[in-house]
């Protein structure tokens, strides 16, 4: 094999590998962005529709930490939506940032929510993070934590 050919092949590889990784990163970000959007819409719909969205995108070992420090499993959160214990009047998010680590990812958002949980109303700003794992070809949320932002 001629040395010039080897050098050209190496240069092409050196350019192609990071480009492929970047493309994969970008694809993963787009996929997660779409899932976050669907979950947020699901929250607003509430009831069985919300529960169905959570069932689709939450992993079986999902753990959620709410703004008051309470911990909910996937089953508990789905039940809370189905029974109407959680109802959203408003849920707007911005500043969505996604970082991909191979087959895992972290997303963070700043949200303004107006919701009622077990008869208690919360209206305010929260900062939330989700940890994602790619399972069965799709992104599943395995952890969610929200922190109320002080005025």
């Amino acid at each position: 094999m001629k040395p010039r050919f080897v050098i050209i092949a190496l240069v092409i590889l050196a350019l192609a590998v990071p480009a492929t990784m970047l493309a994969q990163q970008s694809k993963a970000e787009k996929e997660i962005r779409a899932v976050v959007d669907e979950i947020q819409k699901g929250y607003l719909k509430g009831g069985v529709e919300a529960a169905a969205v959570l069932d689709k995108y939450y992993a079986d070992d999902y753990i959620g930490i709410r703004g008051d420090g309470k911990v909910l499993t996937k089953a508990q959160e789905m039940e809370a939506y189905k029974s109407g214990a959680i109802k959203y009047a408003k849920n707007e998010f911005k500043d969505l940032k996604i970082r991909v680590y191979g087959r895992s990812a972290v997303s963070t958002t700043l949200s303004f929510s107006d919701n009622v949980r077990n008869g208690k109303r919360f209206s305010g700003t929260t900062r939330s993070a989700r940890f994602w794992v790619k399972q069965d070809g799709g992104w599943k949320c395995v952890y969610y934590q929200t922190t109320r932002v002080l005025d």
Binding site: D61, I63, I65, R66, G67, D68, G69, K70, V71, R99, Y101, G102, R103, S104, V106, T108, R127, A129, F131, V133, V142, Y143, Q145, T146, T147, R148, V149, L150, D151
Partner: protein, 261 residues
């Protein structure tokens, strides 16, 4: 190759592979647990020593999410190194670690007594929070890329706490005066001199109108504290609760509370 030999080999492999995966998982959990302990100690040590540990175990893309804001690795190191952040004690309980290949999630309860920009208050306060750390394995080290805390609400509800603590105008008659009431509402004038801290008391659901700028420190029944400034002319809504407040501003603090009975 004899069929019996092939079957035996396959059985051994079928048993060995899950066992190896479990061993790796367990090894990773131990490593993450050890890293959590390093980070806990770094908080308590503080200064240059604490900052060096954080430098090693925090990823360059690290984010710390607290109720007071979001902090980067550089901001965290700066607060620790300069001593602006001071942690008197910290312990982790109910820790659960889940491994997903080269990433891991650790959750648990964090009990801390600390002060500074990375704590719940600039003054020393005890807090009880749920925490999560996300780790990524890089160069043989589990580096933390996300740390988030959420304060755990007091075990008693605001209403229940309100039952235990006396109303503001009973606990502090000199500073909370009822200036009008009917069957539905009670109107209270609150006046607090500079440096004055009132006695623990309760409020019903209320709207508050600020007659002056007020810079206050609030002491909650669970031991948490928080500070905040409200501007003259602003209106604040507050759910029924109990607290004690201190005027830490430079001028008298005056407001009108309209409590719904």
């Amino acid at each position: 190759m004899k069929p019996r030999f092939v079957i035996v080999t396959l059985v051994i492999l079928a048993l060995a592979i899950p066992a190896m995966m479990l061993a790796q998982q367990s090894k990773a959990e131990k490593e993450v647990q050890a890293t959590l302990e390093q980070l806990r100690q770094a908080n308590v040590k503080g200064g240059a020593e604490g900052a060096a540990i954080f430098d090693k175990y925090l990823g360059d893309d690290f984010l710390r999410i607290l109720n007071r804001g979001v902090y980067t690795k550089a901001e965290t190191l700066e607060a620790i190194r300069t001593g602006k952040q001071h942690t008197e004690s910290q312990d982790l309980t109910d820790v659960k670690i889940r491994i997903y290949g080269n990433t891991a999630v650790a959750t648990g309860v964090l009990n801390a007594k600390s002060a500074g920009p990375l704590a719940a208050s600039d003054t020393l306060a005890a807090t009880h929070s749920r925490f999560t750390r996300v780790f990524v394995k890089r160069g043989g080290i589990w580096q933390c890329v996300l740390f988030q805390t959420t304060l755990i609400a007091a075990p008693t509800s605001a209403q229940a706490t309100g039952k235990d603590a006396p109303p503001s105008y009973v606990a502090n008659p000199a500073n909370y005066k009822v200036i009008g009431e009917n069957d539905l509402f009670r109107v209270i004038l609150e006046t607090k001199p500079v440096g004055f801290r009132d006695v623990l008391h309760s409020h019903l659901d209320s709207a508050v109108y600020l007659l002056t700028d007020c810079h206050q420190r609030t002491y909650l029944p669970d031991g948490n504290t928080r500070e905040g400034t409200r501007e003259k002319g602003s209106v604040v809504w507050q759910a029924a609760m109990a607290h004690s407040t201190e005027n830490i501003g430079t001028s008298e603090c005056v407001m009108v509370l309209v409590e719904r009975k």
